[in-house]
């Protein structure tokens, strides 16, 4: 058993910088590289892509990243864990094997974890009395069942550990929880069991700290003036010990900052009740952790307590929920705010002339520059220019497109100083509704499989 395991987290979300994982592999020691490619909306997009092409529906960014790093990852023996499989882990596995062969890498073991995608099983689950009611508002799934786009169970860290045990160097999952990408290797390396709740809670907390990449190493930190060298910001490395204590750090010589403040900032991110952080493998008490600086860019967490998990998995479902679009124009001064307000009134008025009206809750008017993000708190009365953002949402796609046609005309038929319109008419796009639900754990069975290049 290693007495220290180094787990880097190179991708905080779909769209994060490729420099994160590339530099984690190149610029310092690493045993594991964890990468998160999913968000709630991502799965529905991937289901659509897969519907058009059976070989699509996974995170192609992951393969692009491996295209740059696979020889070095293979040579150094770094194990990679990613939820890049999306709704098609098998296709992702094939793409990685193809890439390895193209690069002449023989014997690379690539594993997949399947069983999180329950979209096809929804009718069977409902028939079996598993209602998948909306856990936020209690509605039955029948309200949206004919419009479902995706349904995925949040799978925990033991499936990751099982895939590693089966010999995989690259582990590809679908909807694995973000913390599972970090806790999985700890379970595998240290032999933790399903009853080791304190240790599983520690793995979960480590994963929570790392799961947004550079958000624990100086990114998005309100003390941003203390942060040096944002350009070369280091992505997090978790230095894990068998007893469940761990150090949050980053590679030597990289930019950014790891201190008590940057780590606590991230611990609070997307937090509910800090005494009861629910995950598939345990319940973690974030208030039990002792957080201390133990060196430059080194923060140690210890004393973490956990308890048993709930008997249910969280399921993330998505459904088609109408259409939306937004468009924007720049309005210069003098009197930028007054003219922007007039522009908005003109758009709604002209649409009404043509029989196109929207309810108040379907409309958006933002005067960016006059106090939008901090409305009612920090506002500017007379900025030199503003960006007018208008938007609508409703069930009728044609009405949304009709709205999109009334923004550009303001340039010549509204008040003076309207400019900055680019990109054509805004078009209707799908609104993807999010439907969180719970499912009895007995209904979910994950499987792992390993193939060799």
């Amino acid at each position: 058993m290693r007495d220290k395991v180094l787990i880097g987290y190179g991708q905080g979300f779909w769209g994060d910088s490729i420099l994160g994982p590339v530099r984690l592999v190149r610029e310092g020691p690493l045993h594991y590289l964890a990468l998160d490619y999913l968000a709630e909306v991502t799965m529905s997009i991937m289901q659509k892509l897969k519907g058009r092409n059976p070989k699509a529906g996974y995170a192609t960014d992951f393969v692009a990243m491996l295209d740059r790093t696979l020889p070095e990852i293979h040579q150094k023996g770094i194990k990679v864990i990613a939820n890049a499989g999306g709704v098609n882990p098998q296709a992702c596995l094939q793409a990685v094997l193809d890439l390895a062969r193209k690069k002449g890498i023989k014997g690379l073991k690539v594993g997949v974890i399947e069983g999180d995608d329950v979209l096809a099983r929804v009718p069977e689950l409902i028939a079996g009395g598993h209602g998948l009611v909306n856990m936020d508002d209690g509605r039955p799934l029948s309200a949206v069942q004919d419009r479902l786009l995706s349904a995925n169970v949040y799978i925990g860290a033991f499936a990751v550990a099982e895939c590693l045990k089966a010999g995989a160097q690259i582990v590809i999952g679908g909807r694995l929880t973000d913390p599972a990408l970090v806790a999985g290797p700890m379970i595998h390396e240290f032999g933790w069991g399903p009853q080791d709740f304190d240790k599983l809670a520690a793995g979960t907390m480590a994963g929570h700290i790392a799961e947004c990449g550079a958000q624990c190493t100086g990114g998005n930190y309100t003390g941003w003036r203390e942060v040096k060298d944002f350009v070369r910001i280091g992505y997090p490395v978790i230095e894990a010990s068998p007893d469940g204590t761990f150090v949050v750090t980053k590679h030597d010589g990289t930019g950014g900052l790891v201190n008590r403040n940057t780590v606590i900032s991230q611990l609070l991110y997307e937090m509910g009740d800090p005494r009861r952080y629910l995950g598939p493998d345990c319940t973690a008490d974030f208030t039990s952790a002792v957080v201390e600086e133990v060196g430059a860019d080194r923060v140690r967490l210890s004393g973490i307590k956990g308890g048993p998990p709930t008997p249910t998995y969280k399921v993330s479902l998505s459904y088609q929920n109408g259409f939306k679009t937004t468009g924007q124009l720049t309005v210069s001064g003098p009197d930028a705010v007054a003219k922007a307000k007039l522009c908005a009134d003109i758009v709604w008025g002209r649409l009404a002339l043509d029989g196109c009206t929207f309810a108040e809750h379907e409309k958006l008017v933002e005067i960016v520059g006059a106090g939008v993000c901090h409305a009612g708190i920090t506002e500017a009365s007379d900025p030199p220019e503003v960006v007018l953002r208008l938007g609508v949402k409703c069930a009728d796609e044609d009405k949304v497109d009709r709205f999109g046609m009334e923004i550009v005309p303001l340039v010549t038929s509204g008040p003076p100083g309207v400019t900055g319109f680019a990109g054509g008419r805004p078009k209707a796009t799908d609104i993807v509704g999010y439907w969180p639900a719970l499912l009895d754990k007995t209904q979910v069975k994950t499987t792992v499989r390993v193939e060799v290049s």
Binding site: P274, R275, T287
Partner: protein, 104 residues
Amino acid sequence: MAKVKLKEFAFARSGDKGDGSNVGVFVTNQRDYELIKQQLTVERVKRHFHAICKGEVTRYEAPNMLALNFLLRDSLGGGGSESLKTDAQGKTHGLALLEIEVDR
């Protein structure tokens, strides 16, 4: 005692939780922690975010981090893909909270 904005001595981070946001705020010593526990009441935070948060505000304490965590329900115009707002994920609500003025 002087009027001081939280941004002079506290830190914050925010993000989305469904159609609401969470705002975590923390300080670096026990004295300031007692101060924010006393002055950052649910009512005060609700009033501060009156134009943003249309729902209930809940407060949690995390003394090991000298932190308070606030949940601001119905503060994102629907949240996720449903929202038309610029800050559909409440990323900037932490900085908004740091504009609160306290007696210190």
